[in-house]
């Protein structure tokens, strides 16, 4: 059952990603990206982390992607002005990427699952992704990072406003 889900959603995610790259229309790319995010969200659900899945859909697919699409609209950049893209499919860059993918796959799959030891014991399995456990982590151990994220967002807003402001 899980495998089926993985294949479906994983396939969808890959296909969306591919279309992000291949679409000539920027808006289409962004919309495919939303699809990719949604597929990933389902994968997260399959991985038993409901909260992250929700975040993925609401924050990523919902907020960030909408923001990007809005920016695209603002720039009035429906069709990207590319001529050389098709050529580059067969260029050295493609080879580099392909080799890179092979390498990553080699590294990523060559894992023996024994080496991984859970820190929580097997029966907590369904819980690791639950929101209260996560909250506990965020506000107890992760407090410093969590607070720093606020600084990060402030900096981003300040910078973005300054750069995009007309003056």
């Amino acid at each position: 059952m899980e495998l089926l889900g993985i294949i479906t959603c994983g396939g969808a995610a890959l296909a969306c990603a591919l279309f992000v790259i291949l679409s000539r229309n920027t808006v289409h790319s962004a919309l495919w990206m939303v699809g990719n995010c949604l597929a990933l969200g389902v994968l997260f659900l399959l991985l038993d982390s409901q909260f992250i899945a929700a975040l993925q859909v609401i924050v990523y697919a919902g907020a960030i992607m909408m923001f990007i699409i809005y920016a695209i609209m603002m720039l009035n950049q429906r069709v990207s002005d590319e001529d050389s893209f098709r050529k580059s499919l067969l260029s050295g860059r493609f080879v580099v990427s392909f080799l890179f993918m092979v390498c990553l796959l080699g590294l990523g799959i060559g894992l023996s699952p024994m080496a991984l030891k859970g820190t929580m014991g097997p029966h907590a399995r369904v819980q690791y992704g639950e929101i209260n456990l996560l909250a506990n982590y965020i506000f107890v151990q992760g407090l410093a990072a969590f607070e720093l994220v606020s600084v990060l967002l402030t900096a981003a807003v300040v910078g973005a406003v300054f750069l995009a402001r007309r003056d």
């Binding site: 990523g108 819980q127 990060l152 910078g159």
Partner: protein, 493 residues
């Protein structure tokens, strides 16, 4: 249903006092922008300066005594290493603000509250990078720093070069972060934790892990991500473009602060936990260090723009510092820290001088613009020569002692040929550093593009004097600073 009790541990807020001060100042400075009519135009700058000095005071006040410890659930490490780097970074921030105060007189956008608050927030990120005990915090800190600096790079909104630099830096930076994160993911997968101390402990207790592909992937991707920030060849390509395009005061900040923080992360993330893996990375890092210094130096030889030249030279310096990384001993790491400190002073100084030579709207960054400077402004020429000599590693400056420590330790660890290569590189570098000195003192001044010093504020005078003095003092009496760096390394968690 399992119930969770959230017990907030007693966090040691003193450990992050400098960061708190910096963030508060950043917000205060930002607020000043809102009340533009009520406050003086230069108030944000001076407030930021006061904040950075206060943070510096906090670092010194809190200091580091006793055994290394951690707080915030292991996220923040309190040890000598944190202390030393916080000190260096606070100095960098303060000096950068001093330089910017003057630079802001030429370019109005540089005196806004946004500029200083971004500078301070980038500083917060840097300090957290140096003190992070957890990869999550390290990553967030790195991004805090990077995002602030992406914005700062594009701060010359009127100049296309600046925007272009921001674009390049941003795209490549985000790209590099993705690699870094992927590396972190593999570290997490291999060791089951993101806590640096736990990672180190896990690797120590499971030596069979060392040959696991996960750890290899983790190392490769992490080194690529951090190598991007320290501009290690071949991840260095963004450096010259960004340094050239960014506002000069920001370039000085980037060249020193980012590098210091990134090297701190390199030591924290790679050198300490993955030390047992060292034998397997020696060759490849050897090549990387060699390429880094050679490529940096060789391309710097043929530059005409001083900012670009210094950018390439900063790549070369990263190569020298990598020698210490390779040598791997405690003293070598102390040498790295010492070098970072000297490097901070001499580079901010050099960029400070470059930042001084501009008038409204345009800068003098071509090396030929420096013709006759040494006679027209003798003190300025002298100070610039001190920085350049130090960068070239000529005694009695700090740059010489820094190289001396690094090279000696590398020799002790048996990297004879690499040290020879580094020596040859130093000789090459002397050529292009001294070329500037030669132009300053021996070229007749072309009358049409004669450099005029704009208004020189006391701030930049203090900054340059401090930096020059520090470079000389560190060169003549290196022991104190070296033992400071050494102590910080030996109380590394």
């Amino acid at each position: 249903m399992v119930t969770f009790k959230v017990i907030l541990p007693a966090n040691d807020y003193m450990a992050v006092l400098p960061q708190i001060v910096l963030v508060s100042t950043a917000l205060l400075v930002l607020m000043m922008g809102v009340f533009k009519k009520l406050v003086n135009a230069s108030a944000p700058g001076f407030t930021a300066l006061a904040g950075s000095l206060l943070a510096l005071g906090c670092v010194l006040f809190v200091g580091h005594h006793g055994a290394p410890s951690s707080t915030f659930g292991g996220m923040v490490l309190v040890d000598g290493f944190s202390f030393f780097l916080s000190l260096v970074i606070c100095i960098i921030i303060a000096l950068t603000i001093l330089v910017s105060l003057n630079y802001g007189n030429f370019f109005n956008c540089m005196r806004t509250g946004e500029y200083y608050s971004l500078l301070l927030m980038a500083g917060v990120g840097m300090i957290f990078m140096a003190t992070a005990g957890n990869l999550i915090l390290l990553f967030v800190a790195l991004e805090t720093m990077s995002i602030s600096i992406y914005a700062l790079t594009g701060f010359h909104k009127k100049q296309l070069k600046s925007s272009e630099a921001a674009l390049k830096y941003f795209l490549l930076g985000a790209f590099g972060s993705a690699f870094l994160l992927y590396g972190f993911a593999f570290i997490y997968g291999a060791t089951g934790s993101l806590d640096i101390i736990k990672i180190a402990g896990f690797i120590k207790t499971h030596p069979q892990m060392l040959n696991m592909k996960f750890l290899v992937a983790a190392f490769v991707l992490t080194i690529a991500g951090i190598g991007f920030k320290i501009s290690m060849v071949p991840f260095h390509m963004w450096t010259p473009d960004t340094y050239e395009g960014a506002p000069t005061s920001v370039t000085g900040f980037m060249a020193t602060g980012v590098k210091a923080a990134a090297f701190a992360a390199l030591i924290r993330v790679i050198l300490v936990p993955l030390a047992p893996m060292q034998h397997s990375w020696v060759t490849i890092m050897w090549i990387a260090a060699f390429l880094t210094m050679t490529v940096g130096n060789i391309i710097a030889l043929v530059q005409d723009n001083i900012k670009r030249m210094l950018a390439y030279s900063s790549i070369a310096h990263a190569g020298y510092i990598l020698l210490g990384f390779l040598a791997g001993t405690g003293l070598a790491q102390a040498g790295m820290l010492y070098y970072l400190m000297v490097y901070a002073f001499m580079n901010i100084g050099a960029f400070g001088v470059v930042a001084l030579l501009c008038k409204k709207g345009e800068e003098y960054t071509s090396i030929s613009d420096f013709a006759g400077l040494g006679f027209k402004y003798p003190l300025l020429g002298l100070v610039m020569s001190v920085f350049l000599f130090s960068l070239a590693g000529i005694p009695p400056t700090g740059g010489f002692m820094g190289k001396f420590y690094l090279f000696t330790q590398a020799l002790r660890s048996g990297y004879v040929w690499l040290v020879v290569a580094a020596g040859v590189n130093s000789v090459i570098s002397i050529y292009y550093y001294l070329r500037v000195v030669v132009v300053m003192y021996f070229s007749p001044q072309a009358s049409e593009n004669s450099i005029v010093l704009g208004s020189v504020s006391p701030g930049i005078v203090i900054a340059l004097a401090t930096a020059a003095t520090a470079v000389l003092v560190m060169g003549i009496f290196p022991s104190y600073f070296f033992s400071l760096a050494g102590n910080s390394i030996f109380s590394l968690m």
